[in-house]
Subunit: 447 residues, 2 copies
Amino acid sequence: MRRHGANQTERLESDLLKLKALFDHPLYNMPKPSIPEDDWLLKVKPKGKQSERSSLMWVSASQGGYDDVQWNSSSESHPPWLRFHLGITRWELYPHLDPNMELLTQQIATQRIVSAVQKSGGTQLKLVMSFPNYGQALFKPMKQERDEETNYNLYYFSDFERHNAEIAAFHLDRILGYRRVPPAVGRLVDVVKEIKDITTDRKLAKTFFSSPVGNVCFYGLCSYYCSTEHAVCGRPLNLEASLAVMLPDLSLAPRRSWRSPWRRSYSRSKLAKWETEPDYCSTIKKTAPYNKGTRLVDFIDLVILDFLMSNMDRHHYETFEKFGNNTFLLHLDNGRAFGRHSKDEPSILTPLRQCCRIRRSTWLRLRLLSLPQYHISDVMRASLSTDPLHKVAPLLAEPHLAALSRRLKTVLDTVSRCQEQQKEDGREKVIYDDLDMEYPLHQISDY
Amino acid sequence: MRRHGANQTERLESDLLKLKALFDHPLYNMPKPSIPEDDWLLKVKPKGKQSERSSLMWVSASQGGYDDVQWNSSSESHPPWLRFHLGITRWELYPHLDPNMELLTQQIATQRIVSAVQKSGGTQLKLVMSFPNYGQALFKPMKQERDEETNYNLYYFSDFERHNAEIAAFHLDRILGYRRVPPAVGRLVDVVKEIKDITTDRKLAKTFFSSPVGNVCFYGLCSYYCSTEHAVCGRPLNLEASLAVMLPDLSLAPRRSWRSPWRRSYSRSKLAKWETEPDYCSTIKKTAPYNKGTRLVDFIDLVILDFLMSNMDRHHYETFEKFGNNTFLLHLDNGRAFGRHSKDEPSILTPLRQCCRIRRSTWLRLRLLSLPQYHISDVMRASLSTDPLHKVAPLLAEPHLAALSRRLKTVLDTVSRCQEQQKEDGREKVIYDDLDMEYPLHQISDY
């Protein structure tokens, strides 16, 4: 056992070195043009007259920015969640190697919870939790054992949401170099002290009970799985959960929701159009907003993330309204990912197969992640090991990590087949060139 | 592996010898008084005028017996299910070493299913299946893997029903020498050919669908777990199920339902009276029908069965109305037994602990089953191995078999403690003498 433990420590050290090497690689550190003032989602407004507003009205909805009433203009004094909000640009949620990330996630994982209420919308139970420094996080409870595979007779739209999938999706998205998933961390939450005793949500409070073995359980109100048979339970009080940093309030940063063109039918019997029309993408390519800019390849980026983590539940995606069509896609709501490791779901990759388009930067990073020295399973293992819940058990069981590597190969094979077809019939280029050609490509072209 | 297989075969042979020895033991073969004509539940009526009734009206409800229209009066020509019905007495459902049993269970397990409709009543999905020879069986589908333990946060009233529990309860009840559970066998049922295609129950038929992996599933209509999330599924068509021989129709043999005095509260928060009053049994002992005859010790017999298989869901029991209060208790509906092997549920044994009464015959058989040469786990393993589903996998996982032996010890310890208390305070005798004293007791008194 000791030997085994020592081996594990050695492997983790080696994995962490791989992750560091990955993040130090030029493909993750390409010089970026400076951000024009308008390409930030929010800005700190100059100090207003304090007397004009109540001390609680520190977030100004009407004026589209945070008032600098309670904070210094010096950003070092901003709480990490605010720095996160202020750091959102047209192109990403947070910068690569974000110096704010550690404190941000650490606070979400440890700060005192001062409020917990149900969040409406969606089909399954989730709570919004608030912290003393006005930060907020979206809480999703553990419902299944981490190594349990989803019942293969369940349709994707009946699947449970998994707290560890929310956390793992954040790590995978960052490893892919996207940075489009809000930071999510694991936390053991005391369901009595940190939910029942402090909630002002009476409907929620009414669903608490003590289980036959004395665990405290609750189920809340929602349309799926909110019943005594599907209660979530502490052991006896502590419940594993994911806490994802909340995005700026919709009143400050309105978002637009886009229906995925490759949305599933959400029916047991009906097929969607894309499932029967092999040439479906040629229509989409002519349809706004996919006919301009990077929207199509942005969507393909999301498809690749979803295929890797086997998420079939991407019916919509969102963007920040402020940035119009020329902006990154938010990769929100990943709770139904990582349900199965023993099986891949080829249909998730249909948009890539039908459209045969991919960003060069994404493609190069995927190839990097398929090399032994940056192996996707190893860097994910390393990245997840930094989560607080890793102390309880690995966030993803080994078979899930192994599946990542197998699925990555499928993605790269699909791109290769697209390229062969392109040579044969001279269609549009597969690789969308998003890299600045002035950048010394020889540094990265080996991959 | 071969060696392992050989060991298993040897063990099974030894277990089967133990079972045979048990059933040959005098305690299972005590001479019984002949049954007066009125002590049979049903009788074959003399042949009536065939022209007076439709050929389908072969069961006469109004006259309280089966017409002998289609059957010879020679009982050898009766179908096994009818012989089973005709063999029910005031004291047991079927005789020890019943020569009819093998053919009866074999037919239920293999005969063509000509009809399958939902049975109303109860909370979970069950079907009544009919066979070409007019026999009928109650179908309960497999919902959980056999070695899965019930979620320990679920209350007993939210637990799933288990097909293998129905089967195992029949075997255990027979091993205890009760013979009060209707014969139940396992069967792989083709959900399309043997249910969907032949059912006349349109509401049932509408709930069939094909699962994401192509298994055929259905969920029916009921108050618990009848939804797409809890569908039961073939693999891809075959579904494990229990089929229990139906008792005679209620119109022929009406039954009386008795509320258990030790019924649980069926509430997450309320306690039942017996849970707070240590002297609860002294009231029950004075209350009809527990104040006369064998009703109290009959109930204790049932309690012991339930404790051994950890069934907390015994809210009612039934008797055949014809026999009044002086008859055996039907041990029906055991689907919530065998949910947990790692934990015992002492509260099930409360009636024995509070009343300190037990039949001598039961007590002696329990002591027999605690001896190595008749060890309860081994004889159960042997008995279950005769079920057709044993070819697929053992009906009960080994930890369940081990739990039987552990729980048997608890029952015997409880009786011993009762006897010590009796010596101390000179209360009523613990052992209820139901054995004919003329019978050579020295043959059995060693145990």
